[in-house]
Every structure is written in C-alpha cells, then in structure tokens.
Amino acid sequence: MRLSYRRALTRALADELARDESVFLLGEDVRVGASMITSGLCRRFGPERVRDTPLSEQAFTSFATGAALAGMRPVVEFQIPSLLFLVFEQIVNHAHKFPLMTGGQCAVPVTYLVPGSGSRTGWAGQHSDHPYPLFAHVGIVTAVPATPADAYGLLVSAIRHDDPVVVFAPAGALDVREDVERLAPVPFGRGVVRRAGDDVTVVAVGHLVHDALAVADELAGQVSVEVFDPRTVYPFDLDGLLASVTRTGRLVVCDDANRSCGIAAEIITSVVERVRLAVPPRRVTRPDGAVLPFAPGLDRAVQPGREALTAAIHHVAKDPT
C-alpha cells in the first residue's frame, strides 16, 4: 500500500479512535482538519470526540490533563510548534509531574501531536521552531518519526502509552510517501538503521533522515555511511547507536534544533561517555539561538542541510593521522 506521512497520521488517529472509546481529539480547527491530519475524522467520530477548541491553548492542554486523570486518552493537536512554548508549563509542571508528585496515584496518558514542526518555508520566526530537545530535557517521551510507517506506529504507541508523549511530525517529512506492507505500533526507545555502512555513523532526526540517506547515496563509493534513525529522542536508543558506532568509530549527528543543549549534544556526550571514537565527532545543527528569518534563502541558511552534513562526514571520515 502506498501511504503518505500525513495519511499515516490520520490513519493512526482513526484506528485508535475506533479501537478505544476513551481516545478523543482536541485542538484548534480539528473538525475541519486545517492541518490536513484530522480530515474526515469528525464526520466519522462526531464532534464530541473530535473537539474543536477556542484559541485557549493553556486551558485545553490542562483540560486534556484532567480528562486523562479521569481515565481518557486525549490527543491534543497543535498547528504551530511554537505553541508548545505557550503550554510548556501545563505539560511539564502538571501533566508530567502528577504521577510522581501524587506518589503513583495517577497516570496522565496525553498525546501532543505537532504536525508541521520545524521550518515551513515562508512561515518565519514564530512558526518554525523545532523544540523537541526541550521535551527530552524535561524527560517527556518525544517521538520524531521520519517515515509514514513510523508516523503511524509511533502515534499509535503514543496514544496507548500511559504517560504524556509529544509527537513531532516535521514539516519536512509530511510529503514523504512509501510503500507500506503492514502498519503496526512502533516501540519507544528503539532506533533503526536506515542504511547500513561501515565508515561513518550518521544519526539523523526526523525529516533529516531523508537528507542523510540522500547524502549517503551521493557519497557511495567514497565513504560508506550508516544512517541511524533514533525515532524517539527520549527515550533514546543508545544501545542501538553504540552497536553502530563501535563498528564505524566515527559519528556525525544531524539535528534540526539549536546547537546549545540540542539533542545532538546529548547524543554525542552519551556516546563518548561509553566508547572511544577514532576521531572527534561532529554535529550539524541550527546555529546557537537560531530564529528562522523569513526570506527563503535566510531560512535555509540556518537549517542543517545536505551540504553541511556532507562536509561533516568528509571531515570525520579522514584518517585521524
């Protein structure tokens, strides 16, 4: 079956809404499906379960927390990644902390779905952030699927998970299509080698997996690149990555977040705490403190791209002597 990333998300929502009466959808313009993810769901499941909200992100995020405390499994859609800054307090300080603070009296199974995270060329400074490292930092399960099958599988797992989960669906991956044989839940904390190689391990997050694969193809014959897709940045499949990097001895991490305290920093640290690499690792990220400028050329200039990734791979592939 040929499946697009967007339709994979829609399918995951539809399957879970059909499977479990406690699942419901909450967000802005979800009835009509302005983000093109929830299209058709209201017609099938009704406006009680596909609930349009007023523009009250803080209230509807906490409303979801309360509903989850009472046994529901809400899925909250945010059309704009930066809205996560607005509701960071509600997610981190309440939803995430309740199980521990109550001494295990409750669970808060909420899924936060962010379709179109990262740059959407032309959407400028306030609509183009990719703050998945923030959620990894506070310890919330954070999925960044790269492929349609993973988009389906990780969203299904998120909805069935007993803790809050943020699912970033990068804008750069929404148009990806692939032939899928079988749709199934994807476990958290289990990465996958997208392309086997011997010389350099490239960790790529979300849509950057496709850039890494393209670069690996271009470099074939010069450098044998292994592409590792962690699928969830928290929990992170360190064992899976170590299995790759202990063979290659060389590491590049490609991460569409700001450099300082981005997930690339954490991945590299976790690796070098455990193994000695042949050469110092490299990371390809947005710059420190990046604000995405509007003009397309400026926007592209601050995103981690194939050129920078190619240069980083060449750099680490050089003989250490």
């Binding site: 209230a59 405390l69 295990g104």
Partner: protein
Amino acid sequence: MTGADPVGLYRTVRLIRRFEQRAIDLVRAGQIVGGIHPYLGQEGIAAGVCAALRPTDLVTGTHRGHGHVLAKGADPARTMAELCGRETGLNRGRGGSMHAADLSVGVLGANAIVGAAGAILTGAVWAHRRRGDDVVGATFFGDGAVNEGMLLEAFNLAALWRVPVLFVCENNGYATTMPVAGAVAGTITGRAAAFDMPATVVDGQDPEAVHAVAAAAVARIRAGGGPELVEAQTYRFDAHHTFEHVVRLDYRPPEEVAAGRARDPVDIQGDRLAPHRRAQVDAEVEATVDAAVAFALAGPEPDPAGALDHLYASGLTARAGGGQG
C-alpha cells in the same frame, strides 16, 4: 446534601484549625521542612463547600490546600504524614504540603501554580460526565488567580461546554502581599459575568452561609445549569507562608489583622452548638489530630533508592544522574 449539619461543619472547621496549628508546631520543630501556607481563618470555605459535595465529586486545591484535602475526606493522619515527608503520607512523601492529593476521595491534588487547576478540574469532570458519571467538581483558588489568563480560559471553556464546575474564589484580600485593590481591575464576580456564569458573593467566615450558597449552586450545576462562581470573602489569620514567622513582612496593618481575626469561623460555627456538644467535638478532634501527629512522626522516611518512583506511570525508567556513564 441540602440542610446544613451544624455539628459536621463545626467538626470540619475545628479539625482544619487544629491540624494547621499542629502543622505550624511541626514546622517550628523542624519536622515539616519547607514550611506551609496556613489555611487558618479560611476554614469555613473548604468546610462549607465540601459539605455540599458528594464523595464521588472532585475538587482541586491550592498551595494553601490542607483544608480542601481534609474537608473532602482525606485521612488526617496520612495528610500529616505527607506534610512530614513520610512514606506513609498520602503521596508517599513525594508531594508534600503543596501537592497533597487523594484521588480515592476525589481530591485531584493541591496545585501550587496559581490559577492552574481550574482547567484540569474542568477536563476531569467533563470526562466523568462523558462516561455518564453524575459528578460535579469544585476548584478552589485565591484572589490572585483571577488575574491568571489560564484560569480565565478555564472559565470560558467550562461555560462554553457547560461543564458542571463550581469555581470557588477564596478572596482573603491578598495575593501573598499584594492587596486586591492593587491587583484586580473590575471585580471578581465581574469576571464570571463576562462568561455568563452566575456568581454569588458570600461571607466566607460563616461556614453555614458558605454551605447554603454552595449547596444551592451545586444543585443548579448538577441539574445542568452550567458552571458558577462563588466569591467567598475571608481573611487569612496567619502568614502567607510560615517563613513570615521568621521574616516579618509589613503589608497588613495590625488593626486590620485584629478585625479580621475577630470574625473566626471556628467560633462562629462553634457558637451554634450547645457548649457540651462543642466540647465533645473538640475532644474528638483533639484525639484525631494527636493521632495524626503521632502517625506522621512514626512513619518511615522514604528510601532514597526510590526517589524517582512513579516518575513514569508507564514503567519507563530514567537514567541515573551520577557518574555511571
């Protein structure tokens, strides 16, 4: 519940009063670390509102939250143990004074972020209603919370979706040290009016008056009338937080404090009882609170090996923070 139970209301306000006084003693003795926000003076509100609720109804409290937790029916002994950070506490010592919760009696938790709990309670009540449970909720907050956007958003959601929630504003005149006059443009009830929510002002020092207003509002809410607001006007007898016992903050004129303390909910309700009955309740409460303190202090401190127990309900485990690599 319709008619007030004068003895029951008195027992609750007296219990909260003595619980708080003993908790302050335990703060001074170093048995409660981090201090508490005493509910002294405001007991009539929690007592009156919770007496109008059923055991299956839900409440959320505030950082000044012991009264709500006790009035809704949590065990005083396990509540005191929680304040003392013991394994035997309501939250196994993981929550403390500001986060005491007992979901088994409908207390979704004291919540220490001002204005944050209203939307959470609204969602929880909505979810129960969807399942067909005849549940209503009451969310307590102070006068400071009426300037928090997220609470006003919760007013809107609850009113828009007609979620059966009673918003209870405990107006004690001050958000920490900021007087209402310096912080609130318009009025508290005017905020409810903006969302077409009925609002009632009540004397928060009179437990029976609070109960009467709350019972009437809860009956309307339960019957499908939509959310309402009650503004209970009250006075905080003690510090904002026990740190004020050490660091004196000059923001309430002594004559104002004296006038406020003159209207004591424990005496207002106690005077409605025959003296021997009041003495009998006092003795019962004293025994309960003595037992609570003894239970709390006898409880073991949690094992540090379990410091991150319950971080994830899913059973996910976090990496340790030490130098293990």
